[in-house]
């Protein structure tokens, strides 16, 4: 997976940026410039540029097929873009894999393909970031510690709908599965969090928990991008709203300066 668009050879790895300690620090966390992605003859992203600051929540909205998930996947290192530049904390980086994205402090909750059905809730929460103890050949996954952390995290999130965190996620309902997927974003203090339709399929109470989570992320100084189809939700948490339309940035609004009608109009492609 080569990031051809960047045109330069970039160092593959950088240390994880320090987690944001100062909520008022502001400052740009992530910027993408002119990202383009073709799927065969379909152009999913056309010169998309956007940025998100620490302590800010940016909502990404648009019709089905507008390219929201594609943009999230590109930033998460899941999909290789055809062109585009990426900056984390102002420094240009190449995101060639999910591993790279994790190294830069980017944590993503995807819209789909999030869980391994055969593993239990705890293992899914920690998938790819398992807690270990012991050294060398005796290094082993610390299931007890993971269990404890998972329990603490779920109750911290106010999630009481998952009875047994030791059961395979195949046995959970759609909403419970989504809760597990969203829970992953809270394992550590990630500086950059991407949430692709985190509330889809969730109950009223759980939606509210996710909104509280997003606000907490903002208070902690994380830079958050949230994809959502729900206008009320967006106006509840977002500082800025980026509208994607047919793979292009259609409009950008500050929440304080706009109305739901205006945003809906832009989503539907009407000139505002």
């Amino acid at each position: 997976m080569l990031n051809e668009g960047t045109g330069r050879r970039l160092r593959r790895r950088r240390p994880v940026p320090p987690p944001p300690g100062d909520p008022l620090g502001g400052g740009e966390a992530l910027r993408v410039v002119a990202v383009t992605k073709w799927f065969g003859s379909v152009q999913a992203l056309d010169q998309v540029s956007m940025a998100v600051n620490h302590g800010e929540v940016v909502a990404l909205v648009g019709d089905n097929g507008a390219g929201k998930s594609t943009l999230v996947n590109v930033i998460a290192g899941v999909t290789a873009p055809d062109a585009g530049e990426f900056y984390v904390h102002g420094e240009q980086v190449a995101i060639r894999s999910t591993d790279d994205a994790a190294t830069f402090g980017i944590r993503t909750v995807h819209q789909e393909q999030t869980l391994a059905d055969n593993l239990d809730v705890v293992e899914n929460l920690f998938l790819g970031r398992e807690l270990c103890r012991g050294v060398g050949p005796l290094e082993r996954v610390d299931f007890a510690a993971m269990r404890q952390r998972a329990q603490a995290m779920l109750s911290g999130l106010g999630i009481t709908t998952i009875a047994d965190i030791g059961s395979p996620v195949a046995q959970l309902s759609g909403g419970q599965r989504q809760t597990v997927a969203v829970g992953r974003a809270t394992l550590e203090n990630y500086p950059i969090v991407l949430l692709d339709e985190p509330t889809s399929g969730l109950g009223v109470a759980e939606c509210q928990r996710v909104m509280e989570l997003v606000l907490r992320l903002r208070a902690q100084g994380a830079a958050t991008v949230i994809v959502s189809q729900n206008i009320d939700e967006i106006f509840e948490v977002a500082d800025r709203i980026v509208v994607l339309h047919l793979g292009k940035v259609g409009a950008v609004f500050r929440r304080a300066d706009t109305t739901p009608e205006e945003v809906v109009g832009a989503v539907m492609g009407m000139a505002s």
């Binding site: 998460a76 899941v78 999910t98 591993d99 994790a102 993503t108 995807h110 393909q113 999030t114 869980l115 391994a116 059905d117 055969n118 593993l119 293992e123 998938l127 790819g128 970031r129 398992e130 270990c132 290094e139 082993r140 996954v141 395979p168 195949a170 992953r184």
Partner: protein, 412 residues
Amino acid sequence: MSENAAPTVHADKVPLGEHARKSERRESRVAGWLSSALSRGTAMPAIASLVVIAVFFQSQSPYFLSPDNLTNLAVQASLVATIALGEVVVLLLAEIDLSLGSVSGATAAILGVLMASGNMPWFIAVPIMLACGAAMGAFQGWWIAWLGIPSFVVTLAGMLGFLGLQLWILGPQGTLSIFDPNIGALTGSTLPAEAGWIVAAIVAVAVVAAALVRGARGRLTMKSFGLPVVLAALVIAGVAVFNASRGVPTAFLFLLALLVLGWWVTQHTRPGRHLFAVGGNPEAARRAGVPVRRIRFAAFTISGTLAAVGGLLAASYNASAGTLTGGGTLLLEAIGAAVIGGTSLFGGRGSVWSALFGALIMGGVANGLDLTNAEQPVKYMVQGAIVLLAVSLDTILRRRQSRGRQIGGVHV
């Protein structure tokens, strides 16, 4: 694997009809117990089958459960179980390795050339042979992991290619004798009775002590303590049986050591858990940052290495490497053993112990049929029926569990 077969998808995706609901209720009692047992990777169904086989053949021939026969069975099952262990590792990924028989045959031939023609001592020849097996597995793993070629195709090619290599190495003669006593001892020797008891004591004490230590940390339940006690009792009983004959077979002890190592790696290490994650949902694993390609590559390297270990056992057992080494039904028995033991063909579900239990079931049935003077054709047909039964069970369980969601098998 035929993951995307249209009928299956249809049946999975439309579970709401009255008919589907009714039939689900009907099969739910038995299958519910089975699926909860199997999804947790327990070996209960396999153990139950072993008991049935033991009772049945004992009633047919009083020699079946005699210490002598059980000792022979343990040695014979070691070869199939070793290859089956390699198969389990790739099956967990929802892949398959058809080359394991040929790899074991080719590596046995390499061992033969090194020792018979090259006069190399065993402690140099054996590591070289194992490295060759690892290289063959790695070569195939590269095509599968980095080029995305289906493992069925790559290892089918490997099966033919490495068989060719085996025949080419052996040359017109066709057989290389391996007279080295150290190699022979692997399958030919047994532990002295006292050594067997010492091993049994150490294992039993260690297992129970580990359970007690855990219990002291406040997690001692009947369930967590019962299993170690049963295990300790089994080990002691096993040694008693073997000692009533020639003693614990070295090959069987070696196999158990391999299985314990495999159990540790698959259940307790990160790469091992990633094996299950990739088998369950490769795309989700990739998105979560699991190095999917490296895991696939490593799995095939390991299965190739284990095939070489199988080749070593075969060479030891036959005191030679020939054109038939690793051939015949060995590969199919190994795949059958893995599945009968409870490892799913669809990935993400199973355990290394299924290699042992499956090999004992396959070997036990073959052995029992031999004792009752059944003909070879009957043996094949019975073994075929058992494999069919096991795979059917696996498929039904999977359909029940998936409940319309796709489990695993999606190739990235």
